[in-house]
C-alpha cells in the first residue's frame, strides 16, 4: 500500500495530513501524540473544491504579534525623536508584519474533498501552484475511478454505453 502526501491543514490543537492512496484520500488527524485515520473513498466523492481565502484567525494572530513586537520600538523612537531607531526596529521585526501583509494580499488556497460522510481539507499558503495541481489531480483521479465503476448499459440500437448514475 503506497500513499503520497497531498497537503496539510493544521490549527492550534490538531495537525492534519492528507494522503492520496490507491482507492481513497486518507486523512490523518493528529492531536498531541495520537492520531486518527479516516478515508474518503474515490467512488464516494461528491465534490472537490478549490478556493482562496483570508483567515480571520491568522490575520488576528499576525496582527497581534506585529503590534506586540513593533510597539515598544516605535514608542521609544517616538519618545526620543529618533527616526533611525524606529526604522531599524521595524526592519528587525519585519517578518511578522510582512507575513501579515502577504497573507492579506495573497491569502491561502484550500482544497476540499467532500465524501458521503467525511470531508478532507488541505491548505496551501505558499505553494499555490501545488494547490492547483492537487485540485486537478483529484478531479482526474476521482473522475477516472467513478467512470470505471459505472456499469455500461445497452442502448436501444444494441451498442453499449455508460449508464448515468
Amino acid at each position: 500500500m503506497h500513499r503520497k502526501l497531498l497537503g496539510t491543514a493544521s490549527n492550534l490543537a490538531t495537525r492534519v495530513r492528507v494522503y492520496l492512496a490507491e482507492d481513497a484520500v486518507e486523512i490523518d488527524e493528529i492531536e498531541g501524540y495520537s492520531g486518527t485515520r479516516k478515508r474518503v473513498l474515490f467512488d464516494e466523492v461528491l465534490l472537490v473544491t478549490l478556493d482562496r481565502r483570508r483567515r480571520l484567525g491568522t490575520i488576528a494572530i499576525l496582527a497581534a504579534v506585529s503590534l506586540v513586537l513593533l510597539s515598544p520600538g516605535l514608542l521609544i523612537a517616538a519618545t526620543k525623536q529618533d527616526l533611525n531607531f524606529g526604522l531599524i526596529w521595524t526592519a528587525i521585526v519585519s517578518p511578522a508584519w510582512i507575513a501579515l501583509l502577504v497573507h492579506l494580499a495573497f491569502g491561502v488556497d484550500q482544497v476540499t474533498v467532500f465524501g458521503k460522510r467525511t470531508v478532507a481539507q488541505m491548505r496551501f499558503a505558499v505553494r499555490k501552484r501545488r494547490g492547483r495541481e492537487v485540485f486537478a489531480l483529484l478531479r482526474a483521479r476521482v473522475g477516472e475511478v467513478q467512470r470505471a465503476a459505472t456499469p455500461p448499459v445497452a442502448t436501444a440500437s444494441g451498442s453499449s454505453g455508460t449508464a448515468a448514475a
Binding site: Y19, G35, T36, L41, Q121
Partner: protein, 203 residues
C-alpha cells in the same frame, strides 16, 4: 481543520468555508459563489455510481424473507445502509446502526464508525518534540536523546509501514538532533564526573 466527520452531523457538499448546503445545480456550474459567506470557489461535482444490489430471491409463500448471503437462513433484520436482508450471523451492530458485513467493512475503512476508527500513535511527532526539547535540556541529554532516537526510528518505520512516499525529512532531522542531544548529554555527564574527581587524581 473544520472537518465535519460524524455520520449524523454531515449535511452534504456545499460551501467549504461556512458549510452551507448548496444545490447540485449551483455546484455543477464550476465557478460557485456562496451567498451566505461570500466565498468564490471552483467546484467539480461528481455523481458516484450506484452500487448494484444483488437480486434477492422471492421468499416462498408462507415463509420469512431470506438472508442475502445465507439463503437457508431467515432474515432477522435489514441493513440500515444498503437495505439487504441479514440473518443473525451477518448482522453487525455498531454505533447504534445495524449493518451487514459489507457495509460495516466499508464504513470502518472510511473511519465513519467511531468504535472502529483506526487510531495510531504519532511517533514522528514524539521524536521531533523530544529532540527539540533535548536541546535546552542538554544536561538531561543522556535520557532525552535515546528516547528521541527511539521515537524517531519508530516514526520512520511507521511511515514505511503506512506506505508513505517521502516525508522522511522530519524523522531524519529528529534522529540527527537526538544523536546530538545524546552526545551532548554524555559529554556533560563525563565533564561533571571529571569535575568531581578526587584532588589526588587531578593533574
Amino acid at each position: 481543520m473544520n472537518a465535519v466527520n460524524t455520520v449524523t452531523g454531515y449535511a452534504g457538499p456545499g460551501c467549504p468555508r461556512c458549510w452551507t448546503r448548496l444545490p447540485d445545480s449551483v455546484l455543477g456550474t464550476g465557478d460557485v459563489y456562496c451567498g451566505t459567506c461570500g466565498l468564490d470557489f471552483a467546484a467539480e461535482l461528481f455523481v458516484p455510481p450506484v452500487q448494484a444490489r444483488a437480486a434477492l430471491p422471492a421468499p416462498e409463500a408462507g415463509t420469512a424473507a431470506q438472508c442475502a448471503r445465507h439463503a437457508r437462513n431467515a432474515a432477522a433484520a435489514a441493513c440500515e445502509r444498503c437495505g439487504a436482508f441479514m440473518c443473525t450471523l451477518c448482522r453487525v451492530k455498531s454505533d447504534g446502526l445495524v449493518l451487514c458485513a459489507g457495509c460495516f467493512d466499508r464504513l470502518r475503512a472510511e473511519g465513519s464508525l467511531a468504535s472502529a476508527r483506526t487510531t495510531f500513535r504519532s511517533w514522528r511527532t514524539l521524536g521531533l518534540h523530544l529532540s527539540v526539547l533535548g536541546l535546552p535540556l542538554i544536561t538531561f541529554g543522556v535520557f532525552i536523546g535515546p528516547a528521541s532516537i527511539y521515537a524517531s526510528v519508530r516514526g520512520i518505520a511507521q511511515g514505511r509501514k503506512d506506505g508513505d512516499e517521502g516525508g522522511l525529512a522530519g524523522p531524519i532531522l529528529s534522529l540527527i538532533l537526538g544523536i546530538l542531544v545524546t552526545g551532548g548529554g554524555i559529554f556533560f555527564a563525563l565533564t561533571m564526573a571529571g569535575a568531581f574527581r578526587p584532588p589526588g587524581a587531578r593533574r
